[in-house]
């Protein structure tokens, strides 16, 4: 496993993007930082600028207004980076799929910029923090798969948290 992948696993800077969410997912995301879950134990912190980020945490249906901004944000993020779609809206636009203000789904909008983007899907309305942690582990497994290594992320202490 390359040192780049190892450090990426040990220190994940997350930029939170709201592209038309009802704030319920956002509240659950912030809960990850509270004493109950405390993801800073694993080096995961929220940062203020997409240039610093390794992961874009996207919540919301991706409205027509937000879609070009989301694509611009993805372009602005320093690579390698991953995208986590959090919540039913980000996955499939949920009940807003046919609404007048809905753009494309988050993954479609991002794949229009980068067809090889690594995107994890965390379902739920809102998803539990444990589900988001599991999403991060899935991203690691995918990264390791891409790096050609054996998936070892299941042994990570975060996997333990996600199971309980």
């Amino acid at each position: 496993m390359s040192w780049k992948l190892w450090t990426l696993k040990k220190s994940l800077f997350v930029y939170h993007v709201n592209v038309g969410a009802c704030n319920n997912c956002d509240i659950e995301i912030v809960e990850l930082l509270t004493p109950q879950y405390d993801v800073e134990r694993f080096g995961i912190v929220l940062v203020g600028s997409p240039r610093h980020a390794d992961a874009l945490l996207v919540s919301g249906i991706c409205t027509r207004q937000a879609e070009p901004r989301l694509q611009e944000l993805y372009r602005a993020t320093a690579k390698p980076c991953v995208v986590l779609c959090v919540g039913s809206c980000a996955l499939s636009q949920g009940v807003f799929a046919d609404a007048y203000h809905a753009g494309h789904c988050v993954d479609e909008a991002i794949r229009a910029v980068d067809p090889n983007a690594i995107i994890a899907y965390v379902p739920g309305c809102p998803p539990k923090p444990e589900a988001m942690i599991l999403g991060v582990i899935k991203v690691w497994e995918k990264l390791e798969e891409l790096a050609g290594g054996k998936p070892a992320a299941a042994a990570h202490p975060l996997a333990e948290v996600a199971r309980t």
Partner: protein, 316 residues
């Protein structure tokens, strides 16, 4: 000391201070986490953060001026490295330094701020420009009280502008902080250091989530790692600067090493506590605080120190 010796001292001093700074950064994050009833990151977290940033892509904004944008972090790091090495040398060897080196060190400590402003202005981002203007205002407000606090230490230790003599006078007599004016000057200097480090309540230049990441908005990858290292280095060097000026210097031999380490950790924890128990103030409040509150206190401390020296009252 020849040129080679100086180069070796610079490398050893810089790397040593960077390692110490990363440890200080961890202490800062761990204490913050414990205050918030969390567990906090493992001890190697700051180093891993730097390594990771080293392996990331450097995004060049289309409107950025490449040379200034990329050179600024390196300039800032070199200034901070030089200041830290000079501090170590003057604490280690009593005879080292030159007349006026206290002013040079103070000046070198402003170079990271100046470089940050240059880099932010060169990045062509509106968020960074607002951050740079705030950084400049903070620099103009906290430099004067810090200089006056330095003068208090100089008055106490026999009117010498050599740091080695300030340290020597404290080690043969008593620490500057063991007097009323010394305590006042130390408090003033701690506030100034807080602003110099860009920590809450004086982090208007970075102002995370208000200005995205303020002056650092456009940086990514290795340049961001250099900025991260510079900030870690300053987090170690500035408490050492305070110990040198007010708390009897850094001891490198005997049981007094423990005293120095305790003083360092104490200052670090005080800085972290201030950062964790205060909100970010507006830029005008910050400038008001330093100009109309901290500067008069610093002037009063200076007056007290001069009266004390004149009438030979050591506790004043």
């Amino acid at each position: 000391m020849g040129l080679l010796g100086m180069i070796v001292a610079l490398i050893v001093g810089s790397i040593g201070t960077i390692v110490l700074g990363l440890a200080a950064k961890w202490v800062d994050r761990k204490v913050t986490a414990r205050l918030q009833w969390r567990v906090g990151p493992p001890w190697y977290q700051p180093a891993v953060d730097c390594l990771k940033l080293m392996g990331k892509e450097t995004v060049m904004p289309a409107v950025a001026r490449g040379t200034g944008f990329l050179a600024a972090p390196v300039v800032g790091l070199s200034g901070a490295c030089l200041a830290a090495t000079m501090l170590w040398a003057m604490n280690l060897w009593v005879g080292s330094g030159f007349v006026g080196d206290a002013i040079v060190v103070l000046y070198l400590f402003t170079i990271p701020s100046l470089a940050t402003m240059l880099g932010a202005a060169a990045s062509g981002s509106t968020h960074a420009s607002v951050g740079a203007s705030r950084e400049m205002k903070m620099l103009l407000s906290y430099e004067l009280p810090l200089t006056i606090a330095l003068l208090v230490a100089i008055v106490h230790t026999g009117n010498s502008f050599r740091i080695a003599e300030i340290v020597g006078a404290q080690q043969s007599g008593h620490a500057v902080a063991l007097s009323i004016s010394g305590v006042l000057a130390l408090i003033v200097a701690i506030f100034c250091v807080q602003a110099k480090l860009g920590l809450v309540p004086f982090d208007q230049a970075e102002a995370e989530t208000e200005l995205m990441a303020g002056v650092y908005t456009e940086y990514s990858g290795p340049p961001l790692a250099v900025i991260y290292i510079t900030r870690a280095l300053m987090l170690a060097a500035l408490p050492i600067f305070l110990i040198t000026l007010f708390m009897g210097g850094v001891h490198m031999t005997g049981w007094r090493v423990i005293v120095s380490v305790l003083q360092f950790v104490l200052l670090l924890v005080v800085i972290t506590l201030i950062r964790n128990t205060n909100p970010r103030v507006r830029i005008d409040q910050g400038v008001w605080f330093f100009w109309y509150l901290v500067t008069p206190v610093a002037l009063a401390a200076l007056a007290l120190a001069m009266i004390g020296q004149h009438y030979e009252v050591t506790w004043l």
